[in-house]
Symmetry: C2
């Protein structure tokens, strides 16, 4: 079964060109070829055709083999290039290989031509396959990266929706119930058991309203949407301190931030995840938090005095929480750094650029 090969020959002698073609046909190649002997013709040939192989003579009246090779190298095409050297001798041919030719054969001894061609065609095919595989892998990675972004955003939307439904629908009903009960209580007779029951009901409604607020705030704190990032961070730090007993100190906060919601959410969720990690893993007794602007970047730093995360824990395959934080920051052109010192604690730093020009890809941050 003959193998097809598309051959570009750079050669001024038609006889020599046909000799090469014959050599390949004898080795059972099904050759289609074009022969060129000057720069423009070769440029055109490179631009218009898809060649498997280039065989080039060294010296021609209007062109030479080194120029031909440079033309190929500039084109960015990955085509095996083999010199077929005649009069010029091996020193020149060796120089051509140093300059990047894949091989050379002497016109007087073509026995190496076919095995050299076979090697180069094989290796070019391997390169092509690797490139295809790499592109497939890259595409798949980009898709998964987009999927993680999508999953994080639908999760956030879901939380916002649930928080609003709980807060608005249930909160409103409970407030109405409370008012109704208050009215009813005023009209009740002085019967002590009735008054006590109404009192119990009032307390139950209050505690239910409290539960509604807590569940809604756990899903999506209203303070983040109403009062902004700095207030939300302060609120979350306070909640965390109350719940865990780990002392939270806010060192610096900016209060007049007007951030895109996407960026606020990113900072806030990374902050929450960081506190969760502190509570779960750090064995810390104290956390220092700062939020400040430096050189058009908004920077959140969370520093604990715990046992210190290791490099392995930061980059390990199981650190999906950290990877998720990193991907979140990446989505708003920011970055996340985590460093630990054994028994001295861990510092998480999130840096997100502000004040950037707004383009289609870059519309996530602006300041008022």
């Amino acid at each position: 079964m003959s193998r097809p090969v598309r051959l570009l020959i750079v050669e001024d002698s038609e006889d020599d060109a046909l000799l090469l073609v014959r050599e390949l046909r004898r080795a059972d190649y099904d050759v289609t070829f074009e022969c060129v002997d000057e720069r423009q013709a070769m440029s055109r040939a490179l631009a218009s055709g898809t060649w498997d192989l280039i065989l080039a003579d060294y010296s021609m009246p209007h062109f030479n083999g080194i120029e031909a090779m440079e033309l190929l190298q500039k084109s960015d095409l990955d085509i095996p290039f083999i010199f077929v050297s005649g009069a010029v001798g091996e020193n020149t041919a060796v120089a051509a290989m140093k300059a990047g030719a894949h091989d050379y054969v002497m016109k007087g001894n073509l026995r190496r031509l076919v095995p050299a061609i076979e090697r180069e065609l094989r290796e070019a095919e391997v390169r092509r396959e690797r490139k295809r595989a790499e592109e497939e892998l890259r595409r798949s990675r980009e898709q998964l990266r987009a999927l993680t972004a999508y999953l994080q955003s639908v999760r956030e939307e879901e939380r916002v929706k649930i928080a609003r439904e709980i807060h608005d629908d249930l909160g409103q009903s409970l407030t109405a119930l409370k008012m109704d009960l208050s009215w009813l209580k005023g009209k009740l007779s002085e019967d002590r058991s009735l008054q006590e029951k109404a009192e119990t009901m009032m307390e139950l409604i209050d505690s239910t309203i409290h539960t509604v607020r807590r569940i809604a705030a756990e899903a999506r704190p209203a303070v983040l949407d109403n009062l902004g990032l700095a207030a939300a961070i302060e609120w979350q730090a306070q909640e965390f301190q109350n719940r865990t007993g780990i002392c939270c100190e806010l060192k610096r906060t900016l209060n007049d931030l007007q951030l895109d919601q996407n960026i606020s959410t990113t900072f806030f969720r990374i902050f929450q995840e960081t506190l969760t990690n502190v509570a779960r893993h750090a064995k810390a007794t104290r956390v220092e938090i700062s939020l400040e602007e430096r050189q058009s970047n908004l920077i959140l730093e969370v520093k604990d005095n715990g046992r210190g995360i290791t490099e392995e824990q930061v980059y390990g395959l199981n650190s999906l929480g950290i990877l998720g934080m990193r991907e979140r920051a990446f989505l708003v052109s920011g970055e996340l750094q985590i460093s630990g010192v054994p028994e001295k604690g861990t510092t998480v730093t999130v840096r997100i650029p502000l004040n950037r020009n707004q383009t289609d890809y870059d519309k996530s941050a602006h300041r008022g």
Copy 2:
């Protein structure tokens, strides 16, 4: 600046070996080398060293070059292999290249040796770099894949937690309120305005209980955990029909399923997402649903009579919802197929194997 090269020479003549080393040193290589002339020594050398290059003579008293090459090929090492052929002539050398040697040079004319070595070292370096890049890419993709799984599972946990909190904490309080109110209402005087207020409050509590149930069910339907997948699918189909007016027909369902929760959740969430897609994109009036077991696979099929999804929509870069469904199925060793026929509708099929052996990696499915 001399370049280091670790050279394995397969050669019985020390003089010939030193000639090769000298040739490389003249070309400014900093050569470290080992010389072997029989199989076991070469095996040991391959196993213990990291070689940049192998130069092999063809015939030796106890070994030959083709055997040496086969030994290399079996080792799975990617090391350039060049024949240095003496007496045996070019035909044999050509055959060696056909068998996979990267090149050959004749002992009588070593001028091509250095350029051939340079080409092979360069190409080996390119292969190594590509391999590193590919591994990095693969690792990054696997991490992102794990991250999407993690995000989906934490989202599910969050939904379960919210559903339980809402249902249990709020539901319980409201039921208590209802009982209290009922008691109080019985003790109220016959004053019509008091009775009416109590009646209104009763209705408000009922509708709030209803809202609580709806919000909890939207986060995570209790029927899925209490009555299983088939019931949850039936419930969801009914809900969907009520909400959208799109007629849902359950063709077949299995009722005695005992599934791992992971698998139930996967099926159920894919089913929900499929219905969401039908409502958003399909322009369908009717959906047929079947859930059945075939050849140890549980198969869910959702078929609408809408305008039919296109290949491009299934595999497009923006089809993150579908990619998410695919990844979900993949996580429980299942697969998702989507096919559309223009103006005839779309069919989504999820197939997940049951009854598999349980291993650490494979503990997601079992049947009771």
